[in-house]
C-alpha cells in the first residue's frame, strides 16, 4: 500500500529519527554557544537572551516553511543530504565574529569602543540565523519522506516532533552543563559542523564507504591542523558555563596588578604581593565600612555575595587576621582562577560556597554577620532575584542586629534602578545610605554607587574618624530624599522585578556612543 519510492528507505543509513535528533540538537547547541559568544561581548542580560532566542526561532520558522515547499517538490533523501551539508558548513560561520575581532585586533578596545563591541555581539547573533535556516528545513523534509499516507499524518508529525524535542533537551543539558566548560565554544561549534557534514555526506553518497572514509579523513586532518595551530583555545584564560574569564597584567599606580575580566567587564584588580592595595574606589569604601564596623565587633564576621577576583576578601584576610570570611561565588571557575592566578592561597581562611546566593541564604541562619558585601551586580546583567524584598529579608536574617549590608551597583543619571532598589531596601532595614558623588553621577552615563543598609543609624562622628573617605562621600539624608522623590520607585519583589527595564537607560546610553 505504501509507495515504492525507491530502495533507499531500506538502506542502513536511512534513520529519520537520528537525522531529526541531530539536526534539532545542533540548533540548540548553536543557540547556547552563540549566547556564550554574545555574552562575552555584552554580558548576560534579558536583551542578549531575547535577541538570540528570537533569531534562532526566526531561522527555524523560515526554514520550516522553506523546507516544506522543498520537500513537496523534491521528496528525495538527496535534498536532506544537501541541507545537512549546507547546515554543517554554515554552522561554522558563527565563529566568524571571533575571526573579525581577531583580525581587527581590537581586544584592547573593549572598554573604549562600546558600539564596536555591541556590533560584534549583534553580528554573532545574526550569524546564527543562517545555520538555523538550513537546519530548520530538515524537519518537514524528514516528515515528508517518512509519511506514507494522510491517515498517519498526526502520528508521523507527533513522533518526529517528539524525537526532535528529545534531541533539543539532550543538547541543551549537554551544552549547558558539560560541553562548553569541558571543551570551549570553538571545539563545540567545530564538532557540530563535523557531525552534520558527515551525516550529509553519508546520505549523499548513498552510504558508500569510500565517501565516508574520505570525509572522515578530511575532517580529521583539519581538526589536527586546528589543534596544532592552537586555534581551539580562543581568547579566554578559562571558559566556564558562566563566563569567558580572562586574566591580564597591568601596572596601576606604579605597581603590577592582575586584572580579572569576566566577559567584557573588568571585574577586579589584584595585587599579588600586597593584598591590602585596593584599586577600585568602591573597594576603598568597603574598607571604610570594615574599619568602622571593626570598632564594635572583634573578630569580624563577613559574608561576600559574589567573589569576583577575591580582592576584598583577601584584603580582609590580611588586614583583619581574626576575621571569619565566607564567600558565595556561583562560578567554581572564578574561584579556581583566583587560586591559580590572583593570589588566593590554597590554605586560605576564606571559605567559599560555589552556589547561588538564594540557595545559601535560603537555609536556616546559623551565623550572624557583622558585614555583608554585595558584589554580584554587573552593569548590564543584574541578577534580579538578588534585588528583591524577599531576598533582602533572607540577608537580614543572617545579619547581626547592627550589621551593615554594603552593596555596589551601577546606574546612570536617571537613577531608575537606584531609586527602586533603595525603596525596596527600606522595607527591610531602618536606615539606608548612599555613597556617591552626585555631580559626577549626573554627568556620566554610568556610575558606581555604594549603598549601605542597617538597622542602626551610622555614627557619623565615628565614621569620620575611622573611614574619612567614606564619611566624605556619604549623601546627606535630605539630598538622598531629594533624589528618591525625583521619580517613581518600584517595590522590587519576586513577583515583579523589572530590573533589566530599569537599567535600560544605562544600556542605551552606552551603546550608541
Amino acid at each position: 500500500m505504501s509507495a515504492t519510492s525507491g530502495s533507499w528507505q531500506q538502506r542502513w543509513y536511512w534513520r529519520p529519527g537520528i537525522i531529526a535528533v541531530l539536526a534539532s540538537g545542533s540548533i540548540m547547541v548553536l543557540e547556547l554557544v552563540v549566547g556564550r559568544i554574545a555574552a562575552s561581548y555584552v554580558g548576560w542580560s534579558l536583551y542578549t537572551w531575547t535577541a538570540i532566542i528570537s533569531i534562532v526561532m526566526l531561522g527555524i520558522s523560515l526554514g520550516s516553511w522553506l523546507g516544506g515547499r522543498l520537500a513537496d517538490r523534491w521528496s528525495s533523501p538527496r535534498l536532506l543530504g544537501v541541507l545537512l551539508v549546507v547546515g554543517g558548513l554554515l554552522s561554522w560561520s558563527v565563529l566568524l565574529v571571533d575571526m573579525v575581532n581577531a583580525v581587527a585586533q581590537v581586544e584592547k578596545l573593549t572598554q573604549q569602543n562600546l558600539s564596536y563591541v555591541a556590533g560584534l555581539a549583534a553580528l554573532g547573533i545574526a550569524l546564527a540565523f543562517l545555520p538555523c535556516l538550513a537546519l530548520g528545513c530538515v524537519s518537514p523534509v524528514v516528515v515528508r519522506l517518512t509519511m506514507r499516507n494522510v491517515d498517519q499524518a498526526g502520528s508521523t508529525v507527533g513522533r518526529i516532533h517528539a524525537l526532535e524535542t528529545v534531541g533539543s533537551i539532550v543538547a541543551t543539558f549537554a551544552t549547558g552543563f558539560w560541553l562548553i566548560s569541558a571543551f570551549g565554544t570553538r571545539p563545540v561549534v567545530w564538532g557540530v559542523g563535523c557531525v552534520l557534514l558527515l551525516l550529509g555526506v553519508i546520505i549523499l553518497g548513498h552510504g558508500r564507504w569510500w565517501a565516508i572514509v574520505a570525509c572522515l579523513a578530511l575532517l580529521v586532518a583539519d581538526t589536527t591542523i586546528a589543534v596544532q595551530r592552537n586555534w581551539f583555545r580562543g581568547p579566554c584564560t578559562l571558559e566556564t558555563d558562566y563566563y569567558c574569564i580572562k586574566v591580564t597584567d597591568e601596572t596601576r599606580e606604579g605597581h603590577p596588578v592582575k586584572v580579572l575580566i569576566l566577559d567584557r567587564l573588568v571585574h577586579s584588580y589584584s595585587s599579588l604581593d600586597d593584598p591590602t592595595r585596593l584599586v577600585y574606589s568602591y573597594e576603598r569604601q568597603y574598607a571604610g565600612a570594615t574599619a568602622y564596623q571593626n570598632e564594635r565587633h572583634n573578630p569580624l564576621r563577613a559574608l561576600f555575595i559574589g567573589g569576583g577576583g577575591y580582592t576584598f576578601p583577601r584584603f580582609m584576610e590580611a588586614a583583619y587576621p581574626d576575621s571569619e570570611l565566607d564567600v558565595i561565588e556561583i562560578d567554581p571557575g572564578v574561584t579556581e582562577i583566583a587560586h591559580q592566578l590572583l593570589g588566593l592561597e590554597r590554605d586560605t581562611r576564606i571559605a567559599t560556597y560555589n552556589e547561588d546566593a538564594r540557595m545559601f541564604l535560603g537555609r536556616t541562619p546559623n551565623r550572624a554577620y557583622d558585614l555583608v558585601f554585595g558584589d554580584a551586580f554587573n552593569d548590564f546583567s543584574v541578577p534580579y532575584h538578588l534585588t528583591t524584598h524577599e531576598f533582602n529579608q533572607q540577608v537580614h536574617a543572617w545579619m547581626a542586629p547592627d550589621g551593615l549590608y554594603v552593596i555596589n551597583m551601577i546606574d546612570g543619571p536617571s537613577g531608575e534602578l537606584f531609586r527602586s532598589y533603595v525603596h525596596t531596601l527600606r522595607q527591610t532595614w531602618r536606615h539606608v545610605y548612599a555613597v556617591m558623588d552626585v555631580d559626577a553621577w549626573r554627568r556620566a552615563t554610568r556610575s558606581t554607587i555604594v549603598v549601605i543598609a542597617s538597622d542602626q543609624a551610622l555614627d557619623v562622628a565615628a565614621l569620620g574618624e575611622h573611614a574619612p573617605e567614606l564619611a566624605a562621600s556619604l549623601l546627606a539624608p535630605d539630598v538622598l530624599e531629594g533624589i528618591l522623590a525625583e521619580d517613581r520607585a518600584i517595590l522590587l519583589t519576586d513577583r515583579y522585578a523589572p530590573v533589566d527595564q530599569l537599567l535600560l537607560p544605562v544600556f542605551l546610553d552606552i551603546l550608541p556612543e
Partner: protein, 214 residues
C-alpha cells in the same frame, strides 16, 4: 496524481473559530510565556543561574516532547476540533493550577538535595501545562493535512507559524509582560485565555467537525 487527490480532497470548511494557524500560534505563544514566567516563579527557590534556565528549558521541552507523541496518537485515532477544544481547556486548567501548587510548595525546606528540589518544583508546576500544550501541533497538523502530496508544505507552514508564535511569546514576555505585570497575573491570564478558547472550540466543535471531517 496530486491534482486528482486535490480534487478528491474535501473543500475547506470555514468557521470563524477554526483557524489552524492561529491555533498553533496561540499554543506556542502560551508555552513560551509560561516558560519565561516559570523562571521567575522558581528563582526564589533556587536562584537564577544557568542551572535554573537549563531546568526550565529541560522540563518544558520534556513536556512538549511527550505531548507531541501523545497528541500524534490521539490525532490519528480521533481527529476532531472538539478534542482540540478539550486539550486547550485542560491546558488552561493546568496553567491555573501552577499558583496553588506554588503556594503549597513555597515554605518547604525539604530534605531533598537542591538540584532535585529545582527539578521537582519545576516539574510539579510546569510539566503538565507544557505536556498538554504539546499535544496541539500534531493534532492541528492532522486536521489541516488534506493530502500527502502537499503534506510537506502544510506541516512546514504549521511549524513556521508555531515558531512565530514562540518568538512573539518570548519577545512580548521579556520586553512587555514581565516589566508590566506581576508574574502570577501573567500566568492567570494565560490560563484564562486557554480555558476560554478551549471551551469555545469544544462548543463550536460539533459543527466544525461535521464539516472538516466529512
Amino acid at each position: 496524481m496530486s491534482a486528482i487527490q486535490e480534487v478528491q480532497s474535501p473543500p475547506a470548511v470555514r468557521h470563524w473559530l477554526w483557524r489552524p494557524y492561529l491555533t498553533v500560534f496561540t499554543s506556542s505563544l502560551c508555552i513560551m510565556v509560561l516558560e519565561l514566567a516559570a523562571e521567575r516563579v522558581i528563582a526564589p527557590y533556587v536562584g537564577s543561574s544557568l542551572y535554573t534556565w537549563t531546568t526550565v528549558i529541560g522540563v518544558v521541552l520534556t513536556g512538549i516532547s511527550v505531548g507531541n507523541y501523545i497528541g500524534g496518537r490521539l490525532a490519528d485515532r480521533r481527529p476532531s476540533v472538539r478534542l482540540l477544544g478539550l486539550i486547550f481547556a485542560l491546558a488552561g486548567l493546568a496553567a491555573l493550577l501552577v499558583l496553588p501548587i506554588d503556594a503549597l510548595l513555597a515554605p518547604g525546606d525539604s530534605g531533598l538535595s537542591l538540584l532535585w528540589r529545582v527539578v521537582g518544583v519545576m516539574a510539579a508546576m510546569f510539566l503538565l501545562p507544557s505536556l498538554v500544550l504539546g499535544c496541539v501541533s500534531p493534532l492541528v497538523a492532522r486536521l489541516a493535512v488534506k493530502d500527502l502530496a502537499r503534506a510537506g508544505r502544510t506541516v512546514g507552514s504549521i511549524y513556521a507559524v508555531a515558531t512565530l508564535g514562540s518568538i512573539t511569546g518570548t519577545v512580548s514576555t521579556g520586553f512587555w509582560l514581565i516589566p508590566t505585570l506581576r508574574v502570577d497575573w501573567i500566568i492567570v491570564a494565560v490560563g484564562g485565555l486557554l480555558l476560554l478558547w478551549g471551551l469555545a472550540l469544544r462548543i463550536a466543535g460539533r459543527t466544525i467537525d461535521a464539516g472538516v471531517l466529512r
